[in-house]
């Protein structure tokens, strides 16, 4: 039996979450909150989403602790009472630079920093800051391929790359690859899609979209249990496209304003009274073998 959250419930939860309530648990589903486990699902598990590290960024008015924030977040992750099965990094591990050597230096730093995490099973996505100036050449040297799949306890994870092409496209080849991968799955298979940019048009005039993201969503639509996690917008955001929930994560360098809440998109200045406000990471607890997910937002530092 499955209970479907109605739109009002979804919006209330989204509003609570976007208000920045530390540690709030957010149920991801509109369509997948099963009241009884079943369907032969795998065992439940928890993973972490860390996003938009932007290592190399400098801007004291935005983050005076630009070189310390990541280490603090890593210490917090390592101190969590329950360690995740794995950690996904949803892009912009580094801040962009024109210098290919400096780009590699920043990527190497991130590789070494995340090596300090207790959880060694990690998955990486590129962001446009990592990959768009060299079509992910340097990123691949450090973190491997930019689109791939993996499976964990019965859930099929699909990592999409909408950043290596500087126009923010997935491209026809990747969309065909997606179709081929999905074609192997049952329509009720639990699927998690990981991307950097939103696949839907959140705010195209702010570059918060994927040029051909609609093609990916169309490919995913026939599948009943799909959940998308992404980064790029440096804030929590929750939106449905049909029955598919899309969840954006906070970043770990600077927050950005809510879509179209200000005339011009720009990082939100540092709040000395509330350091690291708007930054953080998220844990994702699968429920009923991937029918649904409970999200918990964590601050940079342990409180």
């Amino acid at each position: 039996m499955t209970r479907h959250l109605d739109r009002r419930e979804f919006i209330q939860l989204a509003g609570l979450a976007t208000a920045g309530v530390a540690g709030v648990v957010f149920s991801s589903g509109l369509r997948g909150v099963s009241l009884a486990a079943g369907k032969g699902r795998g065992e439940d598990f928890m993973f972490l989403q860390m996003s938009d590290l932007h290592w190399g960024f400098t801007g004291p008015a935005v983050n005076p602790d630009a070189e310390g924030t990541l280490d603090k977040a890593i210490a917090h992750v390592n101190a969590l009472p329950h360690q995740p099965d794995f950690i996904v990094f949803t892009g912009d591990l580094t801040h962009t630079t024109d210098d290919p050597q400096e780009r590699r230096k920043r990527l190497a730093h991130v590789r070494d920093a995340v090596g300090k995490l207790k959880v060694k099973r990690q998955r990486y996505l590129a962001g446009e800051h990592d990959a768009s100036l060299d079509r992910a050449e340097a990123f691949k040297e450090f973190f491997g391929e930019t689109h791939y799949t993996f499976d964990h306890k019965g859930v099929h994870f699909i990592v999409l790359d909408n950043v290596s092409d500087p126009t923010g496209k997935l491209g026809d080849d990747q969309i065909q690859w997606l179709h081929a991968d999905l074609g192997k799955l049952d329509k009720e298979a639990p699927i998690v899609v990981l991307t950097h940019r939103p696949l839907f048009d959140l705010a195209p005039d702010w570059d918060w979209a994927t040029a051909d993201g609609a093609a990916a969503i169309e490919a995913l639509m026939p599948y009943e249990y799909v959940t998308v996690f992404y980064g790029h917008i440096h804030q929590e955001h929750h939106q449905m496209t049909g029955h598919i929930p899309h969840h954006a994560a906070k970043g770990l360098m600077f927050p950005l304003p809510a879509p179209h809440s200000v005339p011009k998109k720009a990082p939100i200045p540092w709040d000395a009274a509330n350091p690291y406000r708007g930054l953080g990471f998220r844990s994702v607890q699968s429920k009923n073998g991937g029918d649904d997910y409970a999200l918990t937002e964590w601050a940079v530092e342990k409180s």
């Binding site: 962009t96 630079t97 768009s132 950043v163 500087p166 923010g168 005039d205």
Partner: protein, 125 residues
């Protein structure tokens, strides 16, 4: 090489070279050859000029030269976009058929201040 992108609701493309483009701006075709030409340049991280005032109903060709590298030109509210190839001139033909302010921006990631590369077209009566 010059590249021409014609932008009218009747899909009147006048394309020279390898231009690719589409539009949703005008509601009627206007004979070619009567356009006002606006010269623009694109380089990291600015268009010059970044504010352009056009008169409603007067067809215009935006002649945009990409000075330093590949860029994009996109007017999201109008469904207009074009690739601007480095060292080339791209011609975007539009027929402003309604009054308003329409933002344009680069949609080809070009560096740290890519998001500042933007401007506005103001259409007046």
């Amino acid at each position: 090489m010059k590249r021409i992108i014609t932008v009218t609701a009747l899909v009147v493309f006048a394309v020279v070279g390898t231009a690719v483009g589409w539009h949703r701006f005008a509601t009627a075709a206007v004979p070619a050859g009567t356009e006002q030409v606006v010269h623009m340049t694109a380089k990291r991280f600015e268009y010059t000029p970044s504010e352009i005032t056009l008169k409603k109903g007067v067809p215009v060709i935006l002649e945009i030269t990409a000075l330093d590298r590949d860029h994009g030109f996109k007017i999201p509210d109008l469904g207009v976009r074009a690739d601007l190839k480095s060292g080339e001139v791209t011609r975007v033909r539009i027929v402003p058929d309604r009054v308003g302010t329409f933002a344009f921006r680069c949609d080809v990631f070009c560096g740290d201040r890519h998001e500042d590369m933007a401007g506005e077209i103001v259409v007046v009566d």
